[in-house]
Structures are given as structure tokens and as C-alpha cells.
Symmetry: C2
Subunit: 229 residues, 2 copies
Amino acid sequence: MVLRNILESNEADAAVNRDFFTRKKIATVNMMSSPGSGKTELIGKTIDILSSELNVGVIEGDICTSMDSERLASRGIQVVQINTEPFGGDCHLEASMVKGAASLMDLGRLDLIFVENVGNLVCPAEFDLGVDSNVVVLSVTEGEDKPLKYPLMFRTCDLCILSKTDLLGVLDYNADTARMHVLKINPRIEIIELSAKTSSGMDGWISFLKNLVFIKKNSNCSRHTPAGE
Amino acid sequence: MVLRNILESNEADAAVNRDFFTRKKIATVNMMSSPGSGKTELIGKTIDILSSELNVGVIEGDICTSMDSERLASRGIQVVQINTEPFGGDCHLEASMVKGAASLMDLGRLDLIFVENVGNLVCPAEFDLGVDSNVVVLSVTEGEDKPLKYPLMFRTCDLCILSKTDLLGVLDYNADTARMHVLKINPRIEIIELSAKTSSGMDGWISFLKNLVFIKKNSNCSRHTPAGE
């Protein structure tokens, strides 16, 4: 009952975010994963590639510390840190936090905002942030079975990135099995395999983002796949 | 307010578990980590080593699926699966779930029970299960910064296992930095580096467990480090 009220209140805030970012024509991507899947590294490398064409900002979610936002801000981009510790150490971001963070940014200068969620393969999937795309990053070191064991996350996302593929040669990992498990949970999800370290596979991800920005700039309708639906 | 009531109710159940396992003289270990850190693999290898000396059981926590419990049960040991999906897909185990699972086991034949928690580096640390030891498994693939970013987990545990050390040669990972971060959060925590794959470092872990079982068999007092304290 209580959880339901929290989710309903979050849903209302997410709708506000969705309208707001649509009016501002800023594409927004919610990056979710277990701790240590390489989200920050991937976002950093992505910004390096996109910086000549697009203005990218980051809303960085962590329980505590500002290490990740400092890593990203060193590129001269806009980064706003959300620490959930004052909110009871929340294990996820909520739409109201994203709204508050966005209000601190110079939005007129942005084409794309990454929201890097708290590292957690469970709870963030329950909270719609009102963004255009929910992306789950699953490191190949985590094994092939995770989509079956954490299905809500994979059901909620429209893109699954299988990251750290540079390690494939030293792991007992079957990429076909992993893909099969992802698609069993969500047959409509897109899958991209990449290594932020070697840049292998980054092209598909960059195309995905450019497409998202193009749609946002040229339409009044946003592409919704709210978390929790 | 509501969270506090849940935690207080859990604390009462944890106290019941603690008394119960002390009377039964069964050592209990709560294994926590991010998804994919290698908990199940480590528990399996540990049972293979200990099986000639100790009777080991497992309480296996997952949101859904019984893949991990099947992997472990194939060794002919007692395994009880807890799926949290009927509890709203809970992202952690609670003491009452452990109590219920233990009631399904033939406890007279057990020396040691592993509780494998849901893969999540945040929420499980908030829920005391009434066990003897809380152990966090942190894969070296997750990076050195996780103790600083998820401090409650490392504060709650009395042992940190740095796992998958067979991958050290191919990672940009500084083991000294990782150890320093773990000890910064919890100066009293024990640290063991190991690879379940190659068995390197397993000796220290096996000694830790044998010591726990010895203390439990020979004392009416349990070694408490409740989660959440």
C-alpha cells in the first residue's frame, strides 16, 4: 500500500519530467546496471566521441561520493551530482530527484542528458524517471543468467548493452546464451555488445543515441518506455 | 517511519534466528554482493572442499528462478530456495524468510548454513538475518571504488572477499587501492583475495569457515555482527 503510493507519486513526477524534456527538446537516457558494470566509463567514452557534434550533460546518481561526477566533469561538461544518502541512502533514483537536478542545469545548451542511476539491478527499474530511453548495462563478467534472475530490469529497458566484451577471451561466457536470455525476458529489446575500453561495438551505441536526439529535436512526441510499465 | 517498523520487526525475527541457530549449534553465513560477483560459484567450490569434514546446507535467495539452488543441490546437499517474487520481488532477504527456510531443513545433520542473499550491494545490508557472519563478495571486475560508494555493505560485514582474482592480469585494477578503500570504511573487516576458478586463496576462506563452525560447536555464545548495526 505504501509502496504503491510512492510509485504513484513518482509516476506523476515522471510525467512532469517527460513533458518538460519534450518541450526543451532534450533527449534523456536512464543508464541502469549492477555496481561495476562500467556505466561511468561508457558514458565518458561516449561523451568523448559525441562532443564535437552534441552537447551532453549528466545527472549522476550515487548513494554517496562524487567520484564519478568528478571523472565526467573533467571533460568540461555539465554534471549534477545526486547523492541519495540524505534521502535515507536510497538504492535508486526517483523522478523528483531528476527534476531537481535538471533545474540546476543550463538546459538551453544541451541536446542529450545521461542519467546514471545508482548501481543496482533491482530497484531502479521500479521508478519511471520520465526519460526517453531506459538502458541496462550488463557486463559480460556478470554471467549469462542475470536477465532470467532480474527480469523486471530487462523488461523495463529498450536497450541492453553487453559491456566489457574485451574480457570475453578470458571468461567462461557464452554470448549466444546471454542474448537468448535477454530476448526471452524482452523480445523487443535491442542488444548492443561493446567494449568502452577498446571502442569495439561503440558505433551501434552512438547511432542509437544520435537517433534518439534526432527524434527529440524533430518531434513533439517523445519515445516513451517508462520504467515500471 | 514505515521503513523503521519493517526494520524493527526484522530485528525481532533476527534475534529469534540467532537464538535458534545457537541452540542448534549451526554456524551461519550471510553471503552478499552485486549480481554476478561469483557467490554461487564460490559456495559450490567451498562445499566441494568442506564436504569430507562438514555437513553444509544452503538457503538460496533469488527474486525468481531456481537455477542457483539446482547448481548447488546437484552436490547432494540440502538446499532451500527462497524466491522473493511472491513478496513483491523484494531486493533482499529478511530474517523471517530465513527462519521459514530453515524450518524446512533437517538441521540435526548440518554444521554450517550459507545464506546466499539476493544480488544487490545496497538493500541486503539493511536487514539483519540473525547469522554469525556477514560476508561481502566484491569481484575485482567491479573496480576499486565500490566500498566508498556502497559503504553500508562494507560497514555491516566482518569479511570482504575480493573474488575473481584470476582476472587481475587483464584488468586495470589496483589491489592495494581496493584494500585501502575497504579498510577506510571498516578498519576491523577481514579481507581475503581469492579465485574460486583457480582455487588460489581458498585456504584463508576455508580456515575462516572452520573457525566459525568450531566456535559455534564449542560455545553457547554466537559471534554476532548483525547487519544494520
